[in-house]
Subunit: 393 residues, 2 copies
């Protein structure tokens, strides 16, 4: 087991020793820019965009054959910063740090892990918050509506630039799983295996409806101002409402009982003051505010819509027909019992359609009370399954 | 079978004949006012209110013994207008018309049905929208936070006024079920039987969290203005967002697939225009707008909080202990399989606690894809069960 990074010296005196075992240490965000005008990047919907920058991070070493690549796809509000720390004193490591490192699920002693920030996001890749070189101002609503396919095609440009022609495995949870799936659909010859976690071939109308409520809250915020708020006040109230609702959908009824129940400070106050709060309400408020500090409202609008319109069967007639294109050697699919945003029946649709096309699929429905967030929380179970899966390839 | 009301003459030529069979015809909203200052009504939280008006409607005839009373409790945004029409050309009848009438589940040939508008609502009973006689202005946020118990105590005042000492049955769905339950808890000697539909002894933290999102959307609407919007623009945007979210929780994933699926007008437009909509989104927008025309935002805030703080076990230690007080001869409890707002396990908690106290309970979990709205939609199934139940008394 490799222990690397700046914490090395102090590790054995430190209480975080256990957590730091296998950490990838200090990482940096790199970026690649292409489609510089007049060479624009044509999007799925026919619109054109350029230049296009994609931010990415890597951990581990690319081998000589360049065939030990694992591509990790982030979800709605994630970033390329999947593991390690940018600075020694960063309070938190990357978003899937516990899964990526020496000896971890995605073992950086063996694999070269790449994570990109998706096209349209606000963490270094080109998105609505980026400056449009034609106007010198942020795109805002003039940014094109990019599809999951566009996000994948941008990653392909990066891999071409890095000289990578084969991907050992692509892993993604939630919207990240949609990108993984789309990779295998449009570049079947490049993708050896897939790890699809808590994802779906298309979101449910319930999920579209929930997005709609968030979208409306943002657009109704007077500070949103038709998306022209850069350099002025951000539409923090609307964005916080959207995020609070998002958080409810990432959890489950069961875990809310367990974490908060109906706890509040004082019954007499609750009965008198309309503004007094149950603990679950304070928690949501906190999550809403925290999100406003780190995420861009227009970006949230665009990415929710990219999810809404994704359909793995689009253009193929049916999911089974679409999966006829896949050339993966093996696929791992997992869902979580209490996930009602990307419910298990949707993972089973993926599995059934793959089985119908004779693909080698392992499916695991993991018992967890955490709801959709399970894919970030149930790392012990996922580590077990993913290690076994990668070893079986 | 009695056919009454103004449509009588034309019934046999009319295509609505079937629907009108047994209609209670034309009804009017009456009201009773008490607690005229200085005789104020003391609320559960110690605050005082007066005068208190309660709006109510009745159908059928009160018998001489005054023992054929059925009290129907409405849910969050309902009114006293449970059945029939106010005017011959009313587009819609009362909210549970299909269940109340001659030969219907609540047979007005046998029973005297009373439905009151709950304390704190905006359909004739005293609430935040009512004028505070002390200031000559609407109460707004100065209205006291009333509890489910307060709502029931106001109904008791009305029944005292009407000279009614026994209630044959109290029926309520959702929040209406909470009122029914509370009636039997605080006036056990008056309540002969209970019909509890899609209700709970207390709402889940998930439900509190969902209310919180709606509350925040309303309070963030600049037109809300700390509740002082009467005579100015109403906070329609915030209220519509809250209602849209409410609607999602009244339905289910399954029924959204069935009703809307992922339908939209044009794929190319969906991929280009952030503001284009799936059908489920247009539906929600429509529901949101419609609600703003008929409901008061402050009232919505107060009533959601009344639901949040309700706990049938409060003051009794446990639900089982609390149910030790009940003197009902029989209880009918039903829940619906796809209801995730008042899930079946909460009805089962009621049933189990009643069984533990040797109460005669019939429980039925009704298969329905409609979610919480089932209690208004599955009238055929409910009619069957409720008729049998009432006949068995």
């Amino acid at each position: 087991m490799r222990i690397c990074g700046v914490s090395e010296k102090k590790l054995d005196e430190s209480p975080v020793f256990e957590a730091e075992m296998g950490s990838v240490g200090i990482v940096e965000t790199k970026s690649y820019t292409f489609a510089k005008p007049p060479e624009l990047f044509e999007l799925d919907n026919g619109e054109k965009l350029g230049p296009v920058t994609v931010a990415y991070e890597t951990c581990g070493e690319l081998n000589e054959a360049k065939d030990n690549v694992i591509l990790i796809e982030h979800a709605l509000t994630g970033s390329a910063h999947v593991a390690g720390r940018h600075k020694p004193d960063d309070k938190h490591p990357g978003w899937w740090d516990i899964m990526v490192g020496a000896g971890r699920a995605f073992d950086t002693d063996r694999y070269y892990v790449i994570c990109t920030n998706l096209l349209g996001s606000c963490y270094g890749s080109t998105g609505p918050k980026s400056v449009n070189p034609e106007t010198g101002k942020p795109y805002g609503l003039s940014f094109p509506l990019v599809s999951i396919r566009d996000m994948v095609r941008v990653q392909k440009e990066l891999l071409d630039f890095l000289g990578i022609r084969r991907i050992h495995s692509i892993a993604g949870g939630s919207m990240g799983g949609m990108q993984a799936l789309e990779w295998a659909l449009i570049y079947p010859e490049m993708v050896e295996s897939l790890i699809l976690i808590a994802t779906a071939p298309q979101v449910t109308p319930q999920s579209i409806a929930i997005h709609k409520v968030g979208v409306q809250a943002i657009m109704d915020d007077p500070d949103w101002n038709d998306g022209n708020y850069y350099g002025r006040g951000v539409p923090g109230k609307g964005l916080a409402v959207a995020r609070m609702l998002g958080h409810i959908t990432y959890l489950s009824d069961g875990i809310l009982w367990e974490k908060f129940g109906r706890k509040h400070k004082n019954l007499a106050t609750m009965k008198q003051d309309l503004r007094s709060q149950f603990e679950v309400e304070s928690y949501l408020e906190y999550q809403g505010k925290k999100f406003v500090d780190r995420f861009d409202a227009n970006t949230y609008l665009f990415l929710m819509r990219s999810i809404d319109i994704y359909d793995a069967a689009e253009g193929f007639g049916s999911l089974v027909e679409s999966f006829g294109r896949l050339e993966c050697r093996k696929v791992f699919v997992s869902s979580f019992t209490a996930d009602w945003l990307y419910p298990s029946y949707q993972s089973k649709q993926i599995v059934n359609a793959m089985v119908a096309k004779d693909l080698d699929v392992i499916y695991c429905e993991i018992e967890s009370a955490y709801g959709h967030d399970s894919f970030l929380i149930e790392h012990e179970k996922l580590t077990y399954f993913i290690k076994n899966f990668l070893n079986s390839l």
